[in-house]
């Protein structure tokens, strides 16, 4: 009964807070800049089929065409239209970024909350997280990506695993603070189950830092995916991944600079948009949180 009242008023407060957060975000310059960049990229990615060109169609006679009215970003060594390939690359990169952010966010949040709630699991889970962080994230992803084979989903899994530990640590830290608050004590005394405490209290209270972290993971994942593709451990060619296009265009870079130029801009823009979005979310949701990676 007592808990119900607390929750009811809590929900009203939460609703009002959500409204205030939204208003603050709409007035936040870097958040809106990031939002517009990401929105434009998503729309561009979704509109890729509208060019009416097959991104993998080779036309030998049209090789190495510089940017023109017909081929806005030029063509590559096989005569493929780079504008179309870059748009399809946006689909691939944004999908990988989103999947990595969601996957590492969900698993990381689960591990973080479990560690905070069950002290016995804590030391084991945290040692595993430490072990995953023992090597640089990109190196771990290279190893995992290679082990899982050259496919899009293995890149997603590899990058998600590499970023899980930091997310787990952030959620755990937030949940440990929440656990000490009085209303959790009240909930526990009134017989709330561990599950209820974790999902009703610990997790919602960690949602701000979790969202911020996931946004930055999205940005990192876009950069890391491109780097993996560049090394040769990404989605296999002829997949129009931005990293692949740059890797393939690299050997022709001196004469046909445009091949590798535009996909690089696309990567930069996507990462920039997500970073701006993350900065805005951090300022509004969790001003004390420092940049994490």
């Amino acid at each position: 009964m007592a808990e119900a009242t607390i929750l009811a008023s809590g929900e009203a407060i939460a609703a009002r807070r959500r409204f205030r957060v939204l208003r603050k975000l709409l007035h936040h310059r870097s958040f809106m800049a990031g939002f517009i960049i990401v929105a434009v990229m998503v729309i561009a990615a979704l509109c890729a089929p509208l060019t009416g060109v097959d991104p993998n169609q080779m036309r030998v006679r049209l090789r190495f065409r510089p940017p023109s009215e017909v081929n806005w970003f030029g063509t590559d060594q096989f005569g493929r239209d780079l504008f179309t390939r870059t748009l399809y690359g946006a689909q691939l990169s944004l999908w990988i970024g989103l999947a990595v952010a969601v996957l590492s966010g969900v698993v990381g949040a689960a591990i973080g909350v479990l560690s905070a709630q069950f002290r016995r699991l804590d030391s084991l889970l945290m040692r595993i997280m430490d072990a995953l962080m023992a090597a640089p994230a990109i190196l771990l992803a290279i190893g995992l990506g290679a082990a899982l084979g050259p496919q899009t989903h293995s890149v997603i899994i590899a990058l998600a695993v590499a970023y899980i530990p930091r997310t787990a640590r952030i959620v755990r830290a937030s949940a440990l603070v929440t656990r000490e608050l009085e209303f959790i004590e009240a909930a526990r005394v009134s017989g709330a189950s561990s599950m209820r405490i974790m999902f009703k209290h610990l997790l919602p209270n960690a949602s701000g830092p979790l969202l911020v972290q996931s946004t930055f993971v999205f940005a990192f994942a876009i950069l890391a995916e491109a780097a993996l593709s560049f090394i040769g451990i990404g989605p296999p060619p002829p997949a129009p991944s931005w990293g692949n296009i740059i890797a393939e265009g690299r050997q022709f870079a001196v004469q046909s600079w445009w091949i590798m130029l535009f996909p690089g801009f696309a990567i930069s823009l996507a990462a920039l948009g997500m970073n701006l979005l993350g900065d805005g979310l951090r300022d509004v949701l969790d001003p004390r949180l420092k940049v994490e990676s």
């Binding site: 870079a253 930069s268 970073n275």
Partner: protein, 315 residues
């Protein structure tokens, strides 16, 4: 402090154990048969089987794992399958390259990254702050390998200022050629770290500048430069030092990719080639050495932390 270090070391043991098991399992997930890779595509099934037995790959995984551990215990990191040399010597050969690259990059990163953060915080909300933050944001948003290629196109191909690729050891050409071969990759590598550190330093410095003790210093008649350099800066370093481990991790991770761009024969290239050649003892051993290195680095970071923050020093 000594006790603190011992405690950190004892905590590191299970971490390294879990890490090495993970690395071992990872390498045995690698698709493709190393025996087949060594024997070549034309070898007979019998020959492949023979190599497999020689390498002990036909035995149960747990036996292989225990054997690997027993070798590690005596400092034997195994033999490379493709390089005809031990993992230790392969790593030893390439370590100076990666260390040099990381060192030069760090020397570029620390003063610029921290300096930009301090400057941005001191002149907060001014045009200086705005520009520094835009640069920092670009630093963490531009893909290093792409910037590297563009940089080679411009500074090496177009202007001819730096060699486009390759490494000149310190022992061969002296400091000049060594630095010339490293400065371009090191700066490209530093861009991300500079952006990362500048952002962290700025927010740490902003926190410190709002503290009461800064007002106390000004009330004493301390000038602005001393207020910043003596009173604010040391306090700013505390949170910056905590991310030093992450910075180094990002740096070494980034060097793996940058070594590909500039064809530097470092550990990053070694490990990528090992993966592509299914040379699992090599990858396994190198990864493990990375793990050891970062355990040591993180302990060093903790020591620096206790030097910077007297509150930790006394516990």
């Amino acid at each position: 402090m000594f006790r603190g270090i011992m405690m950190r070391l004892s905590q590191a043991v299970p971490v390294l154990l879990i890490f090495s098991v993970m690395v071992f399992m990872l390498m045995h997930l690698l698709p493709g048969d190393p025996a087949l890779a060594i024997a070549g595509p034309d070898a007979s099934p019998e020959a492949v089987q023979k190599i497999r037995e020689q390498l002990g790959l036909d035995r149960p995984l747990i036996v292989q794992l225990l054997e690997w551990f027993s070798h590690l215990a005596v400092g034997n990191f195994g033999e490379s399958l493709t390089l005809k040399q031990s993992v230790i010597s392969a790593v030893g050969e390439r370590l100076p390259v990666t260390l040099s690259l990381s060192f030069v990059s760090l020397v570029v990163t620390l003063p610029i990254g921290i300096g930009l953060g301090v400057v941005a915080a001191y002149w907060r909300n001014s045009w200086i702050d705005a520009w520094v933050m835009v640069l920092a944001l670009l630093g963490v948003s531009l893909p290093g390998f792409w910037v590297g290629i563009l940089s080679v196109l411009y500074f090496s191909v177009q202007l001819g200022w730096f060699p486009p690729s390759g490494y000149v050891p310190l022992t061969e050409g002296g400091v000049g050629p060594w630095l010339a071969s490293l400065i371009q990759p090191a700066v490209v590598l530093a861009l991300f770290q500079i952006g990362f550190l500048a952002r962290i330093t700025r927010s740490a410095m902003l926190d410190v500048l709002d503290q009461d003790f800064i007002r106390t210093a000004r009330a004493k008649g301390v000038d602005e430069w001393t207020t910043i350099s003596k009173h604010a800066f040391r306090n700013t370093l505390i949170p910056v030092v905590t991310v030093l481990g992450i910075t180094l991790s990002l740096l070494v991770g980034g060097s793996v990719v940058i070594e590909q761009v500039f064809a530097l024969p470092g550990i990053g290239r070694l490990i990528v080639q090992g993966i592509l050649n299914r040379d699992y003892p090599l990858v396994q051993g190198t990864m493990l050495l990375f793990g050891f290195a970062f355990v040591v680095i993180n302990i060093l970071v903790d020591i620096i932390y206790t030097i910077v923050d007297p509150r930790v020093r006394y516990g």
